[in-house]
Every structure is written in C-alpha cells, then in structure tokens.
C-alpha cells in the first residue's frame, strides 16, 4: 500500500521546518479568554464569507443580524424568549458533559417532558394555575429525567455507549410524538398535526404584557444559578468534576461514580424536560409533530442540539453557558432578521454553530499550546 499522503506531508515538512509546539502548562487568564474570543471572531469572519456567497455585503448582513436581535425592546424580548429554552438545554448538557456523560439526547428529553406536560395540560382543563403549572413542570422534569436515566443505567449496567443511545432516543420519541399528534392526540380542528391546546391555566404567564418573554425565563435563570452553586459549592459538584476527570481514580478515592452518573443524568434530563415544558406552555401551547429539519421536533426547534453547542462554547462552565446561550439566541433571532432584510438563508446560524465549534477547538489548542519559531 502506498500512502498518497506521503508526498504531501513531505512537501509540507520541507516548507515548515522551523515551527515548534510547546505546552503552556499554566495559561494566564488573559490567554484563556483571548483565544476563545479570537476564535469566535475568526468564525464570524468565515460567516462573512457565507454571507458574501449569498451575494450580500457581510457588514450589511451582520448589521441586520445584530440589529434584529438587539436593536429595540421588541427584538431584545424576542431574543430573551429564545434564550429561555437555550439556557435550559445548555445547562442540561453542560451538567452532563461535566461528568463525561455524553448526553446528546437533550432534544428528545425536551420532547418527552413536553409530551407528558401536554397530557396533564390537556386533561386537567379547569384546574387552577397554582396547581397546574407546578404539575406540568414537575411531570415534565420527571419525564425528561426518565428519558435520560435509561441510557445512564444502560451505561452503568451494560457498558452501553451513551452517545448512541441518547441520540437514538431523540428519534424514538420524535416519531412517537408524531404518532400521537397525527393519530390519537390529533386536534380535529387544526390543519396541522398537533394536539389540542393546553388549558389556559397551564400557560406560563408573560413577564411583561405584549412581550413574549414568560416565566420560563425565571425558571431558566434559577437552574443556571443552581448549576453554578452545585459546581462551586457542593460535595456533589466536586464528585461530578472528579468523576468526569477520571472515573477510575474517583472511585479509588471513595466516590460512588455510578451514583454520580445516575443523579447527573436525572438532573440533566430533568432540566431538558423543563425546557420542553417551557416551550409548550410559554410558546406553542399545542404539542407539535416533526420539525422541518430532520431529527428535530416542531416544538423543540432543534434547541436540544443547540444546547450541546452552547455547553461547549460556554466551556461547560456556569458563567460561560449563560453567555453562550445568549450569543446563540442572538444568532438565531438575528439570522431570521437578516433573512427578512437581505435574503441570506436563515440556516445561517446552523452553519455558524459548526464553524464556531471548529474554530473554538483551535482556540482551545492555542490556549494551552504555544507555537514558536525556532532558530536553526
């Protein structure tokens, strides 16, 4: 077997003989912030190429993007309205990834939460808000937790890789929801496959009349703070970090890693479930079927997947995740505004998620390694 790469890499070597990669064991805080920020700027630069490819001046494009997301009170409200589920899913993913439970099933856990909440929301019409809202939240939490804990148990008991099981779980629940809203739960008065509306008393009240931000926002902030406290202040948070960094050593030192894994899955899935409830009771009011984008629900809009992006962009860290969630909300809200104003296809933000992540990985590398020219 001849390696076609041989000549290529030889050629490269001949041109770049004098670079040396050195580890920076102790990057300064400045370096730690500088490179990720730079890499996002680089990604926005690549984004500019995409905008230009659509025949639009990138500056005009970005102007509409940021103006559409942050330009006035209405835009900001819309951005915060999107920020709500994104903060929840981002937190859910970050918590799980912290102990290296690769939960990429947040999308499905959202739908599971919303489905169970729909059941209660539709069945208990006439119940007081004081009862019904806690009921949908708790049931949504439990449903999401259940959908996440199954892969965790399979991982603990049978060593089944959770990356695959959590992801395939998304598809299972997605089709199950489609079955429900196209069949037994179908709202006969609607053109689209969707469930009947939930009770008015299950609807999340808005924070400011006429703006779409609702109490889900408060709930999301609550969980973000909870995540912060868990990681910084609690024994459990310590155990999560230790388990994530090295499960073998953690268990040697007396941490019950299986218990940590299962409890993390419960909270992570639960938060994801609440994200689904929040979308149901704050945004859609009906359970909806398949989204246009394969693998996403019309109710979840791919926010579960975006949560993965947010968690990674936020460095799995309790301060970074809210910032990243807000950034993502701006990108989504702004992409739509940019599309309306200039015609740049709105999947722009989908493409940007991947671009930013890839650039970020480069940025992380440059945070911990220094490339130096060496003489001779």
């Amino acid at each position: 077997m001849r390696f076609p790469l041989k000549n290529l890499s030889r050629g490269l070597k001949a041109k770049l003989p004098k670079l040396k990669v050195e580890k920076r064991p102790y990057p300064s805080l400045r370096t730690k912030i500088l490179w990720p920020v730079l890499s996002i700027l680089i990604a926005l630069g690549i984004g500019a190429i995409l905008i230009a490819a659509a025949g639009v001046n990138p500056l005009t494009g970005y102007y509409h993007l940021f103006h559409g997301a942050l330009g006035d009170a209405h835009a900001i409200s819309e951005t915060l309205w999107r920020f709500t589920p994104l903060l929840l899913t981002g937190t859910a993913v970050a918590l799980a990834f912290r102990c290296k439970f690769w939960n990429i099933g947040v999308e499905g856990q959202m739908l599971t939460g919303a489905t169970v909440a729909t059941f209660f929301g539709v069945s208990f019409i006439g119940t007081s808000s004081w009862l019904l809202i806690p009921l949908v939240i708790i049931s949504g939490f439990l449903a999401g937790a259940l959908w996440a804990v199954i892969p965790a148990i399979l991982k603990a008991k049978f060593k089944v890789d959770e990356v695959v099981t959590t992801l395939l779980g998304n598809w299972i629940i997605l089709y199950f929801v489609a079955y429900l809203v196209e069949g037994p739960w179908r709202n006969p008065t609607s053109l689209w496959p969707e469930s009947p509306a939930i009770a008015g008393s299950a609807v999340f009240p808005r924070l400011v009349p006429l703006y779409r931000v609702h109490i889900g926002f408060i709930i999301a902030i609550f969980f973000a703070i909870l995540f912060f406290i868990i990681l910084r202040k609690t024994v459990w948070g310590f155990q999560i970090k230790a388990t994530g960094a090295n499960p073998r050593a953690a268990s040697f030192m007396g941490i019950k890693v299986t218990r940590v894994l299962i409890t993390v899955a419960i909270l992570s899935g639960g938060i994801a479930g609440i994200a689904g409830v929040s979308e149901l009771c704050g945004t859609h009011f009906h359970m909806k079927g398949l989204g246009f984008f394969g693998g996403t629900g019309e109710l979840s809009w791919g926010y579960g997947y975006a949560g993965i992006f947010i968690a990674m962009l936020g460095g799995l860290n309790a301060i970074g995740v809210p910032v990243a969630a807000f950034f993502m909300a701006v990108m989504i809200q702004g992409s739509r505004a940019m599309y309306r104003a200039t015609g740049v296809p709105s999947p722009f933000y989908y493409a940007m998620q991947g671009t930013i992540l890839v650039c970020l990985l480069l940025g992380i590398f440059l945070t911990y390694y220094r490339i130096r020219k060496v003489k001779g």
Binding site: M1, R2, K23, P25, Y26, K233, T234, V235, W236, F238, Q239, K241, A242, A245, N246, R248, A249, A250, S251, F252, M253, G254, I255, K256
Partner: protein, 516 residues
C-alpha cells in the same frame, strides 16, 4: 580485541531540556562494534532520554550523532531502524492482542503491502533458535510472561537486522534465573558482532556483563571506564556525588497485634483470569511486610482487593479484626487503611483537579460538616477549611507547587507522590498499603519516601509494601513474601533472606521445596 573494533556510534554534546530539567547536558557517548557498553546512573540521571534521542523518539536540543562514522539526523524510530539501531524499552512497546509474529513484523514493508505471515513465522522460529530466545510465534502477546515478552522485543529488533541493540533496564522485570539466560544471549550476540547498550542502575549486573561503562549523573556525563579496570566502589562514587552511599537504618518498633490479614483471598484479573489464588498474609502493627515478585504475578490485584476496588472472589480481608472483604473504598479508608497506589497518575490522583482538591478527595465528609440554610450536613463544602488544610499539608510534606489551586498535572513526579503521601499519612492510618512507592522517582524523592515509610512503621503502622524493586524490599521490610502466579511462594524474615532463595521463589519454586 574489543578495543580494536571500529566505533559504530558516536554521540557528541547531546543536550535535551524538558520543562524544568536538563535531562541531558552536553553528553558524549561512544560505542564500538561488538561491545557491551553499560550506561550507568541513578534514576533520573538521563539514561533513557539519551537513548530515546538515539532511537529518534526525542529530538535533541543540541549535539551531533554519528553512526558508523557518518553524521546522521534521526527524526523517528524509522530512521533509527534504517541505521540498524534497535531499542527495547523499559516499558514494552508491544500490541497485546497481536501474535508474536504480528508484533515482530509490525511496521515492516512487504511487496505490494500484502502480508506474508507464514514466511515471517518461519524466520521468527529460525531467529529464536539461533539466539536461544524461546517463543511461540503464534501465541498472543498478552498471554506471555514478562520474560517472554522481552524476548519478543529482542527478536523484533534482530528481525530488523539490528546491529546496535539498546536495552533499557532489561533486568528489572526478570527473575534472577531469567537474567542469567538473557546475559547468555547478549554474549552470543556480542560475539556475532552486535553492539549493545545496556542501561542499568545496578552495579553488580554492570560489572558482570559489560565491557565498558559510561556513568551519567544529573544529566551530565561523568566518565567512561573499561569494566576490567574499575570496581564497584569507584562506579558507586561516580554515580552518586556523596562519597558513601546513604544507608537507611531500619528502626526498631514494638510489634503489635495483626492489623491487616488476608485469608485465602482469590480474585480475577482484568482479563477475567484467576490472578490471586488463596493468598494468606498477616501484617502486624509496627512491621513492614514486603511483597517481592516479578511484575504481573498478582501484586496489583492484591493491592486492589485490599483497597476495595477489585472484588475478591473468595476469602476474607480482615482489618483490625473486622471483616472488610469487598467493602467500598470509602469504608476501607474509614477503617484506617491508607493506600498508596501503584499508578500515581491514573489512580492516585486526578491530574486535572487542583492540588487542594486532590488532598481532600478521600475525606470530603470532613469538609462538609456544617449545615447551610435548610440543607443538612454533607451537602456544601467548607472551602476555607479546605484551603487551610491544604496549605498545612503542602508545607508539612514540602510539596513544591505554584499554589494550592494549581492543577496537579503541573507537578513533577516526586511532588505528585508527596501529594499522595500527604493525603494518606496525615490521617495516621493504622494500616498502609504501598505499591511501588518510589518507582520512577529520582534519588532525593526516593529517599524521602522511604524515610516516611519507616517513620510510619515506628509510629506503629502495619505496612504492606509491594515492590518490584528487590533492593527496596530488602532495605525496608522486616519480613519478605514472594509472589508468583498469584500465589505466595514463601515468607522469610528479612534478616535471614538470601538473594538466591528469593530469586528461586520469584521464579516459581515454593520455599518448602528449596533445600537449605
């Protein structure tokens, strides 16, 4: 006759820096054809680094290498192999699920890239017969003993036509009998014209096998001597700066009750094979019981069963009279067992966590003993207590670290071990299980750790010391147990222990079958 033969390797002014250490500082080193050249120096002297440079694994920061008179640049092992240099590393570089032959032909070129396994097997058999390196070409490597694996490594080099053979501390994994066989092989190779670099820190071996000795100390070249014109005392003086080799004196301690006992303990290995076969031991307070043996004879499993991270399939582990078989690690720590694991980096510490976090890891309960708001004890961490505790231990055990918040991975090997010692010893454990406590550490760190162990014994701790390093076992223990294939071959008091006897037991002869 050796003196007349041509120089095959000449390393001039080799310098190699690692963060914080100069591993090689302007080293000169020559090897002639057909000579067995010992590279002598204490742990951390820079022997492995120098040879890794010759083998293309590291790039020197300065210096030149000549092979057979020609100046060469060695960028990768492939280049070294091209110059007919072969290296057998201290930690073998074999692929466990591959067969012996597959391992030997790994990386070789075949016409059109299609393997000819049958042909290769025949050549392996021929070679192994020629040099008396007995192996089964079709056996899978993970099933072989350490000695057999080493033979595979040597065959691998010979198969590639190596004329210059580098052996990095080859005897440390062998029984005394296997060492004798290997020396025989080395001599016959030398006779056939192969040059050998024999890395060691053991004076006896160097005197026995080598034609010439080069001594390194702290990364610097000290001297090259003809073996026949030097002696052990001179080499020892060259190897360590101090005129007299420091000798630890075993302190006397009052023997107490048996604190740690295993009764017919059996357990499986990771591969689900029986690794411990009814091990019965008893360690008393104020006593060090050393467990000697070639690596891979069940020592790791024994330590892990006691530590609570491996299930015993039979038998009992008794701690201070209480049955603690198959209890969780935290229960075992609570019962007063301190554990110093063999694998510092992967088991004893979590390298991504900070120094202080590693220090409190085993005792989180002690640092969460206050209720906060309506939360009970055990939920929130007391960070100020943790900080105070960490600072105290760092200064008490002289851990060199930028700060208590630095990630552990920024520490050097010796400091990592101090970190573990600090965590474990500060609780004054009644029982201590120490596996390979000084492996890979430099002289200073080794001495510090051995002293600490002896201090613990004096305090009245019962210590189970597991080590591949026979010298360490002899220096520290009161009694010596020898393990072979998951069994105890015999237990002898250290005062009366004869190396030959221990060697026989390490090779599988039970004590009761050894004549007086």
């Amino acid at each position: 006759m050796v003196r007349r033969s041509p120089v095959v390797i000449k390393m001039v002014g080799i310098t190699k820096k690692f963060p914080g250490v100069i591993a090689n500082n302007k080293i000169n080193f020559d090897v002639r054809k057909g000579e067995i050249h010992a590279l002598l120096g204490e742990n951390g002297a820079g022997k492995t680094t120098l040879m890794n440079i010759l083998y293309g694994l590291y790039r020197p920061d300065a210096g030149e290498i000549y092979i057979r008179g020609k100046k060469v640049t060695i960028r990768s092992p492939n280049d070294a192999i091209g110059h007919k240099v072969g290296m057998i590393h201290q930690h073998f570089t074999l692929v466990p699920p591959f067969t012996v032959t597959q391992n030997i032909i790994l990386g070789l070129k075949f016409p059109k890239g299609v393997l000819k396994v049958g042909l290769a097997e025949k050549r392996v058999t021929e070679l192994s017969e020629k040099y008396g390196l007995k192996v089964e070409p079709r056996a899978q490597v993970w099933q072989l003993s350490v000695g057999e694996q080493q033979r595979v490594e040597i065959l691998k080099a010979l198969y590639r036509g190596a004329e210059i053979l580098i052996l990095d501390e080859p005897t440390s994994v062998l029984t005394p009998g296997e060492v004798r066989d290997m020396f025989k092989t080395l001599r016959s190779l030398a006779k056939a014209g192969t040059s050998t670099v024999f890395i060691s820190h053991k004076l006896d071996e160097v005197m026995e096998i080598s034609d010439k000795v080069t001594v390194l100390r702290d990364g610097k070249f000290v001297a090259t001597k003809k073996t026949s014109t030097t002696n052990k005392r001179e080499l020892a003086r060259l190897m360590v700066k101090r005129e007299v080799i420091f000798r630890l004196k075993k302190p006397k301690a009052k023997l107490g009750k048996p604190a740690l006992e295993t009764k017919k303990v059996s357990a499986l290995s990771d591969r689900k094979l029986l690794a411990l076969k009814e091990i019965s031991l008893s360690v008393r307070e104020g006593e060090i019981l050393g467990v000697a043996g070639v690596a891979g004879n069940g020592q790791r499993e024994l330590a892990e069963v006691i530590a609570g991270i491996r299930k015993a399939t039979g038998g009992k582990v008794i701690v201070k009279g209480k049955d603690m078989t198959n209890r969780s690690p935290s229960e075992i720590v609570e019962a007063g067992v301190g554990r110093i694991p063999e694998d510092r980096i992967d088991m004893g510490l979590i390298m991504d966590l900070s120094v202080k976090e590693n220090l409190v890891m085993e005792t989180l309960r002690d640092f969460s003993d206050h209720a906060v708001l309506f939360f009970p004890k055990g939920v929130f961490l007391n960070h100020s207590a943790i900080d105070k505790y960490a600072d105290k231990l760092i200064s008490e055990f002289k851990v060199i670290t930028p700060s208590r918040d630095a990630p552990s991975k920024t520490l050097s090997g010796g400091n990592l071990q101090r970190l573990i010692l600090a965590r474990v010893l500060t609780r004054n454990p009644k029982i201590l299980v120490a596996s390979e406590p000084t492996r890979g550490l430099d002289v200073g760190a080794t001495e510090y750790i051995r002293r600490k162990l002896l201090e613990q014994k004096k305090r009245g701790a019962a210590i189970l010391l597991i080590s591949e390093d026979l010298e360490e076992i002899l220096t520290l223990s009161d009694r010596i147990a020898v393990m072979y294939e998951g069994r105890i071959m015999g237990i002898v008091p250290a005062r009366k222990a004869k190396i030959e006897k221990i060697g026989l037991m390490m090779a599988g002869t039970p004590l009761n079958k050894i004549g007086r």
